[in-house]
């Protein structure tokens, strides 16, 4: 007997919803095995990782805070991936957005500038992210260079730009030689819901982006074009849609959202620029986009789940003494299972006799 894949005639809605859930369950089972191998009690470890954060109010808030950049970035990436354009450099666009927006905060530091600073930062951050994403998109449509490799290379370049600025011209003279800028002035800080809370208004903006993306994809011509170019490129070309322009547009949107996420993050939760302002949000957002099945509402749920792995990972590092890398392992395994389970949507397994030729002989 052997297993073969067989294409489904029609796609099952139930399987489409269940497959990400199945992926999460399989990840948890694999996680339990992983913890056992590391010599930690598996069930207790899973509880610390995935349940404890849900029982504490501060941790729930922290989940929303960490999910916010993931939602921004993943919604943008999902538009790219739907249109078959592979932007994998969101991490770089995030950093450049943070640098460009944060630059305004640095320039206006101590000048007593008015309340225009924060809106200007947000706009400039988004614009810088979009421009940075347009580099690989332009190289793709004009020269045919792989957007995957160019956008990824630009991540390393963005890290070095940030590193140069905070160690060089933008370093805080009062910062005891640490590579950091001066703390942002209050006009450059994203307001939070209350004095004691870290939950900020960026999270509200993330919700608006989810709603906006859902409306665009479902009810506008542009949304139809994005879905069509990805699903049936030939048909889209016959229909007169310009697939090159679409690469530019989707890259620009996703870059703008990633840059926006970057400036929101530094303005709301970090409060200054320094190396390592992102724990890999740009890469984790790729997982979020796929786990959310490239659907805005799905992405919202997926972002909360992956935010949970970040917080659980920090908790487990303290109480279980496991390295933070366990979180990355979890995230990688999760993406594998998501992709594997997606196969179930397009194909079904069928058990075949071991020797297909024997059937002819009979």
């Amino acid at each position: 007997m052997r297993l073969v894949l067989e294409r489904r005639n029609e796609q099952s809605v139930a399987v489409a919803v269940l497959s990400p859930l199945l992926a999460v369950v399989l990840t948890l089972v694999t996680g339990a095995v992983l913890f056992a191998v590391l010599g930690k009690p598996p069930l207790e470890a899973l509880r610390i990782y995935f349940l404890d954060p849900l029982t504490e109010p501060w941790a729930l808030q922290e989940m929303a805070v960490k999910a916010t950049p993931l939602v921004f970035i993943a919604v943008g990436l999902s538009l790219c991936y739907l249109a078959n354009a592979w932007n994998i450099g969101a991490e770089g666009q995030f950093l450049i957005g943070a640098v460009a927006g944060g630059g305004i905060a640095v320039a206006t530091h101590g000048t007593g500038a008015g309340p225009w600073v924060l809106p200007a930062m947000l706009l400039v951050g988004a614009a810088a992210g979009a421009l940075y994403a347009l580099i690989p998109a332009f190289c793709k449509v004009r020269f045919g260079a792989s957007e995957i490799l160019v956008s990824l290379m630009l991540v390393y370049v963005a890290e070095l730009v940030l590193d140069y600025l905070v160690r060089g011209p933008w370093r805080d003279p009062k910062g005891y030689n640490f590579p950091t800028t001066a703390p942002f002035d209050p006009v450059a800080v994203m307001p939070t819901f209350s004095e004691a809370s870290r939950l900020h208004f960026g999270s509200v903006l993330a919700l608006l982006v989810v709603i906006g993306a859902a409306v665009v994809l479902r009810s506008t011509l542009k949304g139809f074009e994005i879905r069509l170019v990805g699903a049936a490129p030939k048909a889209a070309r016959f229909a007169g849609f310009d697939d090159k322009a679409l690469v530019l547009v989707t890259f620009a949107i996703s870059g703008a959202l990633a840059g926006f996420a970057g400036v929101v993050e530094v303005s709301a939760t970090v409060g200054h620029l320094q190396p390592g302002i992102s724990p890999g949000y740009g890469f984790t957002a790729i997982i979020v986009a796929f786990l959310g099945r490239l659907n805005p509402v799905g992405i919202l749920i997926a972002a909360l789940f992956l935010a949970l792995t970040f917080i659980g990972g920090e908790g487990a590092q303290i109480s279980l003494k496991v390295p933070l890398d366990v979180t990355k392992v979890f995230q990688g395994i999760l993406l594998f299972y998501v992709l594997a389970c997606d196969t179930l949507i397009l194909y079904r397994f069928r058990v075949m006799p071991a020797h297909p030729k024997a059937a002819h002989a009979a």
């Binding site: 894949l5 592979w86 490799l149 070095l160 890469f283 790729i286 933070l324 890398d325 392992v329 990688g332």
Partner: protein, 305 residues
């Protein structure tokens, strides 16, 4: 002699790129785009260091690196070939997973040192001024990498199996119709690619800098991927490209050392910027002639019965 010293370091800087890119070239020639080279390299580096540190043998370390890279490639093969999953996304998952796994393996070895791989020494021959050490005084990995790429050329263009592998990459439906086991051939090519990436990664802590640092591959896997494109999927050009890139890496190190007044970060960014420029130039030059990429590259194949 400065030139001799520069040539020596160029070769050591190029070797991990050449090893990893050689394996990826074979996988891509079979029609599989594995974007997880960076992940397989970093796991190879971590396994390689762990193996060499625990056993005290560079050879066993290299073997561990090969096995680590191949193990990760096996996961990729299962997913993209067995389950026909999207190759681009699966490759990214492999890189994310690999970075995490390497951190777990390497956690116990931070700050440890080993004796690096010994260099070849043939009395008198290695002492020949200038070229003696460049040709006859390298570590074993360098000779392996050159033999490997020559062997790949011979395999692809001079053997029947190589012809079949290229046919599978260029048109999987025809190859299948002729009765060749497309998925099995691709799985072997992917495993070979993983083994090479693992060896390339292991070179870093075993010979390049004999200690373990997390994230020590620093994007070399991605540069190896770009090298395959640069080389137009041809083994000879791949070797040329790898040494050119090694030269860029060394050039920027020397420029930093000379203190030209340029920010060190700009110098460190040079290999990445060079990769972008090369990719754009090569794609542009090719524009009219059409891409020399294997025609079935990156496409999933599900055999009909």
């Amino acid at each position: 002699m400065l030139l001799e010293a520069v040539l020596l370091t160029v070769i050591t800087a190029s070797t991990p790129l050449l090893l990893a890119a050689s394996g990826e070239l074979v996988a891509e020639r079979a029609g599989v785009l594995n974007l997880g080279v960076e992940g397989m390299m970093i796991v190879g580096a971590a396994c390689g260091f762990a193996g060499a540190f625990l056993s005290g043998s560079i050879l066993l370390g290299a073997l561990c690196g090969i096995l680590g890279g191949a193990a990760l490639a096996a996961v990729f093969a299962l997913l993209t070939l067995g389950l026909a999953a999207n190759q681009v996304a699966s490759g990214l998952a492999l890189t994310i997973l690999g970075v995490g796994v390497s951190g777990l393996i390497g956690a116990g070895f931070v700050g440890q040192k080993i004796a690096g791989a010994p260099h070849l020494y043939i009395p008198f021959v290695t002492d020949i001024p200038f070229m003696g050490r460049v040709i006859f005084g390298q570590d074993g990995f360098v000779y392996v990498s050159i033999t490997l790429i020559a062997g790949i050329w011979w395999f692809l263009y001079r053997t029947r199996a190589g012809l079949v592998l290229r046919a599978v990459g260029d048109n999987h439906a025809s190859a299948h119709a002729l009765g060749y086991p497309v998925l099995r051939i691709r799985a072997l090519a992917v495993l070979f690619g993983g083994a090479c990436a693992g060896l390339g990664g292991a070179y870093l802590p075993l010979a390049y800098t004999p200690f373990w640092v997390s994230g020590m591959t620093a994007g070399r896997g991605w540069i190896a991927l770009a090298l395959v494109v640069f080389a137009s999927w041809l083994p000879g050009r791949l070797a040329l490209g790898a040494y050119l890139f090694g030269a860029v890496t060394i050039l920027q190190l020397h420029a930093q050392g000379a203190g030209l007044g340029v920010p060190s970060q700009l110098m460190t960014a040079l290999p990445y910027l060079a990769t972008i420029v090369v990719l754009v130039a090569i794609s542009w030059a090719r524009g009219r002639a059409g891409s020399p990429a294997p025609a079935s590259l990156g496409l999933a194949f599900v055999p009909d019965r």
